[in-house]
């Protein structure tokens, strides 16, 4: 079953029985959204918080959901916003500069209890963390989630052309950092 068919089934069930529909929505999307959030916030504890907030907000706003956008992009938008809110909160309350946050996140990759990557993966994650925030989101959505630019444009409210350029720059930067070019 593709995303579109699955979304259709969830939406129909939401109309008939909101609780059962929402249960199916959570079961279908929790893993995908968790990994999207985790790649942005890095720490499991933060990702756990942001994931729960994402679904609680989705539940609150489910009445506002229109079929104009796919359920999939709608949920990714909420999850991205929750992740950014959490990152910004961390910036505000820890009273450290953006560079320091980057270093903190970079160290967290290696220091996190829930990190199990080999050396190459640590290098890649650290390289991604050196990208500007928006570029990092674009790179993650395209590279790991393989999200089409058309969908990404709806999630980030940015033109497809700008997203393509942003991704291109992100790849170049990462390759430079990894010493691949």
């Amino acid at each position: 079953m593709g995303f579109a068919d699955q979304d259709k089934e969830i939406i129909e069930l939401l109309r008939k029985d909101a609780n059962r529909g929402f249960r199916l929505l959570v079961e279908s999307y929790s893993k995908r959204l968790y990994w999207h959030i985790r790649r942005l916030v890095i720490l499991h504890e933060d990702a756990d918080d942001a994931l729960q907030n994402t679904f609680i907000n989705a539940w609150k706003k489910i009445g506002e959901f229109r079929n104009e956008s796919a359920l999939y992009t709608w949920l990714y938008t909420i999850a991205t916003n929750e992740s950014l809110t959490l990152i910004n909160k961390r910036k505000r309350y820890s009273a450290v500069s953006i560079d320091e946050i980057g270093n903190y996140l970079a160290n967290s990759v290696e220091g996190s209890t829930w990190f199990d990557g080999d050396e190459a993966q640590i290098k890649l994650q650290n390289a991604i963390l050196q990208l500007p925030e928006k570029q990092r989101i674009v790179f993650n959505l395209r590279y790991f989630d393989e999200m089409p630019y058309e969908e990404m444009s709806k999630v980030l409210n940015t033109s497809e052309g700008a997203l393509k350029a942003s991704y291109h720059h992100a790849v170049k930067k990462i390759e430079e950092i990894l010493g691949l070019i």
Partner: protein, 137 residues
């Protein structure tokens, strides 16, 4: 670069997704139950709040008017007859005491009886030389 990312570098606790799904579904179900039993107080709450605000404003305006409104603004001094004035305001006054005071004031002519001898005694006691008085006069 693609080969590197094929495996997720992050770990999650065992059974994390099963647990978090249950937690999310339970927390949203609680929110539904919290909102369902909408009693009469909950429904009337906004109206009660508006009514209370209006009542407080009226009370405040009335009190402010009572305190700050000058007497001239009222424009009228209540007219009462002499009899009413007497009955209302003079009832509590002891008329006898008032009359005694009045007669004492009326009988006082301003100068008590003092003889020349008394004056001379006074001047001697105060050691005032009579020649000084003549000079001044």
């Amino acid at each position: 670069m693609k080969d590197i990312a094929d495996k997720s570098p992050f770990k999650v606790p065992e059974n994390y997704f099963e647990e978090v799904n249950k937690k999310i579904i339970a927390s949203t179900a609680e929110k539904v139950n919290e909102t369902k039993p909408e009693g009469i107080y909950r429904r009337l709450k906004p109206f009660l709040a508006v009514a209370a605000t209006v009542a407080v404003l009226i009370l405040l305006s009335y009190t402010a008017l009572k305190i700050f409104k000058p007497a001239s603004i009222t424009g009228k001094i209540p007219e009462i007859s002499l009899q009413e004035f007497s009955d209302t305001y003079l009832n509590d006054i002891d008329i006898l005491t008032l009359e005694e005071g009045a007669s004492a004031i009326a009988s006082f002519d301003g100068v008590y009886d003092v003889s020349d001898a008394d004056i001379i005694d006074y001047l001697i006691v105060e050691n005032i030389d009579l020649n000084d008085i003549y000079e001044i006069l």
